[in-house]
Symmetry: D2
Subunit: 342 residues, 4 copies
Amino acid sequence: MVKIGIVGGTGYTGVELLRILASHPDADVRAITSRGEAGTRVVDMFPSLRGKYDALAFTAPDATDLTSCDVVFFATPHGVAMAQARALVSAGVRIIDLAADFRIRDVSVFEQWYKQKHACPDLLAESVYGLPEFHRERIRRARIVGNPGCYPTSMQLGFVPLLEAGVIDSAHLIADCKSGASGAGRKAEVGLLLAEASDNFKAYAVTGHRHHPETTQELQAHSKTPVSLVFTPHLLPMIRGILSTLYARITRPEVDLQALFEARYRGEPFVDVMPPGSAPDTRSVRASNVARIAVHRHGDTAMVIVVEDNLVKGAAGQAVQNMNLMFGLPETAGLTAAPVLP
Amino acid sequence: MVKIGIVGGTGYTGVELLRILASHPDADVRAITSRGEAGTRVVDMFPSLRGKYDALAFTAPDATDLTSCDVVFFATPHGVAMAQARALVSAGVRIIDLAADFRIRDVSVFEQWYKQKHACPDLLAESVYGLPEFHRERIRRARIVGNPGCYPTSMQLGFVPLLEAGVIDSAHLIADCKSGASGAGRKAEVGLLLAEASDNFKAYAVTGHRHHPETTQELQAHSKTPVSLVFTPHLLPMIRGILSTLYARITRPEVDLQALFEARYRGEPFVDVMPPGSAPDTRSVRASNVARIAVHRHGDTAMVIVVEDNLVKGAAGQAVQNMNLMFGLPETAGLTAAPVLP
Amino acid sequence: MVKIGIVGGTGYTGVELLRILASHPDADVRAITSRGEAGTRVVDMFPSLRGKYDALAFTAPDATDLTSCDVVFFATPHGVAMAQARALVSAGVRIIDLAADFRIRDVSVFEQWYKQKHACPDLLAESVYGLPEFHRERIRRARIVGNPGCYPTSMQLGFVPLLEAGVIDSAHLIADCKSGASGAGRKAEVGLLLAEASDNFKAYAVTGHRHHPETTQELQAHSKTPVSLVFTPHLLPMIRGILSTLYARITRPEVDLQALFEARYRGEPFVDVMPPGSAPDTRSVRASNVARIAVHRHGDTAMVIVVEDNLVKGAAGQAVQNMNLMFGLPETAGLTAAPVLP
Amino acid sequence: MVKIGIVGGTGYTGVELLRILASHPDADVRAITSRGEAGTRVVDMFPSLRGKYDALAFTAPDATDLTSCDVVFFATPHGVAMAQARALVSAGVRIIDLAADFRIRDVSVFEQWYKQKHACPDLLAESVYGLPEFHRERIRRARIVGNPGCYPTSMQLGFVPLLEAGVIDSAHLIADCKSGASGAGRKAEVGLLLAEASDNFKAYAVTGHRHHPETTQELQAHSKTPVSLVFTPHLLPMIRGILSTLYARITRPEVDLQALFEARYRGEPFVDVMPPGSAPDTRSVRASNVARIAVHRHGDTAMVIVVEDNLVKGAAGQAVQNMNLMFGLPETAGLTAAPVLP
């Protein structure tokens, strides 16, 4: 059993970790911290978990010794994980950060977008970007994993095969992305109220989104030519799910894109390349760690559709997938339940 | 033209007043105040109103002289209207309060439920409860109107004909009420987030809701026998609309309930008694001031369904209906647009 | 491994059975029939199941031999199961019917409400009503189980403890029930379109619903005094979930209702009596077989709230729970995943 | 008063025409036909219109003489208007077709996409494409107006200013469009059920949509260089609203795009160019005839966001705008109500 600590367990990624780990055969959640809810029983805050974590209560971060854990998940705002990373790593605890502290390689870029100084550039340097489909072996050995953002996961899964193969114009990528409202987190903001965001649709962060530098960095790592990306996030009137519609100009028209994707993801347990002509919907992956991909071509434009559950493959599920790799467990442990449809 | 001031224009009842008054032939909105948004143009906060109020900006309450208005609407939290009422009334300004300051006759009951001392019991005593279908003539002459709550409007429209006629057991009324999320106001609360409240349904305030004493007070005024009410509000995963399902034990089985309702509301422009066997849906009144009522009978139980738009007949529309009465305008002025369906 | 056949696998209860059984440790789905989709691969119709049932295709009912199955689920319209029951039972196959053929004891009542002659009254007589909380031992031995309707499950879980204890006026029960749209099935009807049923709320079947006689029959079986029920179903603008708000007049005010419910359901794996003062929401059981119950009292009125997922505890999950009992498996096998929240 | 006939009044564009015309000062709806609902009162089918059209009933197409009307709207499936056009036009009746019969100039293209022979190529030749912002003067004089499709309206409003000015690469236009479910019409299809399409998002018609040739034809008319368009429609889990996110490569970087759009649409009553940096949401135009546009630039890519209500500016509202032009009424008559928010 992997002894697990969760820092910041009251947000959506935190409760999603709890949901997934409740069915995980090798997970033992020992501690969960929350500054605001210390003393509250987990099941009193989340009655959906009654019967699953009846003995677990949130504890104050300062009063919680996490050094006896094997792994600590940070389901916190940006900046929390890097502040505690050194102490935990020194104690032999491995870290999976679901925020952005260990995603951006270039400290200055991190500091520009996240408006805070990085606490441990050396640990950042050794940390691994936790997208298993591209960094599986390094994740196995990592002490610190920076779990990818939800949008970046979808954009990378869709663009990387094309960039690796050098078949598109990397300087003019377009990602038109749509996310359910849970992607914004469990925080009280007027714009996310049901009465504001339901029966409504809009683009947002149209002048710049934090997932842009993260995505560009990772795409660039797979491309021999310079990457430039236009990324437009939109807010869907629903809870879970991301659908990214990706466009790129094809530079090598002779290549069979469908075959390219099928070859790239053959054997991947959580990436499903759909048959030609498909249009996957977000509910086909609801509450599941699977991403589904459809590849289309219109003249000299490649159009790739990627769907994922932003809280699972886009956050907590991918984090558990990383944990499985780090601890030598079957990569799919705890992640095998079928998507919830309808 | 009626010169209008709105205090507290950034909530849902405030913006709904603006929407309705934009099409009102005799309305001239002169001022709109907001403590938090002073200086902001109305159309910058609510782009839906671009082209309707381009010259109007929110002003600070303290810096706004409302005494030149004919009428001031208070679309504020409870307690604001009563603090300003005396000064306005003294200046000859009439008041329509969309909060609860002038709804509860018994000051001690008000103070118990709203946790504040009433600022002007004498003005409360002269104020009129603004449900035109029951108090039309008094509203015409009122200096201060307490605009009814959304749930209470629906419960009164459904129960009063039965109570007036003395055909039900008034001591065991049951109101199972369901409201869209806009009824909770435009305030940032986790429980009202799309990711919390959509694709979900629950009862709330199950141990007591502020609309209970208001409703009981008014129902009692129409009943010769003591009224006791069980009232269960529920939160619907949608924006607008209230549907109240009302149950009462019939004490005079010989009475034709359908005929009773049709007679009671004959000629009412905003109460529509549906044909026997009907099940009105909330969208049939969406964005409209109409309430629709269906009357059913199961053995010795009367079951009455009432639908209204909580922001219109349940708030801003009823307030405009009251204004029309107070200023001798056609009662339906500004309130004639057809409901929005689908 | 239990060898399983599913008749009529293209509706919501059918695909929900597939979803649940995909995670069941002892389930082997051997055959699934569909008149309309014979030849279609299951995963082509339901891409959410890709990777779970890749080798399974719908077969024509007439061309499918189900006699080698241990159990056959009927996820069909009413009338299909009774037509095939005798042949299957004779071959030693046990049957779980998710439609109404084996729910109503009185053949004439069945025929009145379902407008067809019952094909096998003798098998109906031996069949068992599949609500494990009340009929567990008989279900274990049953050859044919009539799986309860979704609304009736919720109403029985909430009313039966009160009726058994004789603490309410059984002649005036009120059930104000609200269901997500999946309860109406996966059939093309204008009234169930997103553009009709979302952002909307209504009562329906206000003059009589088929779940009324089923519920009355079962409630009566637990009551020493005559049962009469007013049942109002409503359509919620969401996919899954039933919330039933139940009202009854208390006849023995000295009884502690909370203690009564806790005692009645102690040890039940799928019935969760919430702490006093609770208001469970439907998402707290989403995609799970758990029903949660809260008990309230307003004067001499008992108010009980029951939530369940209509497709799980209200249909496919309860069917699997019944299968587990019938085959000596752990009652919770395949049914332990935590609810999906948010 | 304009004497109006509506053919096919039971779909969403039909009932939306009725809703809008109910508030139109110069509209007199004389007849409304429906093959399936002949004899049904309009208000019995659409209770939202009770009090607005109490005397109006659907009549059988064959039994309805529309020649005394001034104008007939066709809110029908494709193919109906062209079959009746000659008789009506000969009788001096003007026609506004909300279907596709008079949108596509090239008969062979029409016949390829709509799978039927065109009934009156000569009338097609004289008909006018009813987008007032581009064809106002010709619409005033038209006998037959082909009312634009919902998606094409949004794409044209966003692309035409750029094409007219010759500032983008017209050969590589990308339109990533998202529509509410009412765009698919009021027809019973499984894929449009609330239980299928809500809490879900997907692209559809990914291999070709009928609005593609219509849009290309019109865009080409405004472009000196050849137009090629990638158009991806998506289905939003909501009722009303289209948001189109348009991308194009800028060829003349020195041009101020914001100024270009403001100049192009100056004085237009129904096109609102938002301030720089804006992200209009669909609810800002809900139930209104206004389209709002925001212009952005990312490097050498222009990104234009257009929102409209697909049933108003995308269908019935634009049709009424056309009628106003054709009959010399104020262009905004009946179309001035503020959008419904929240």
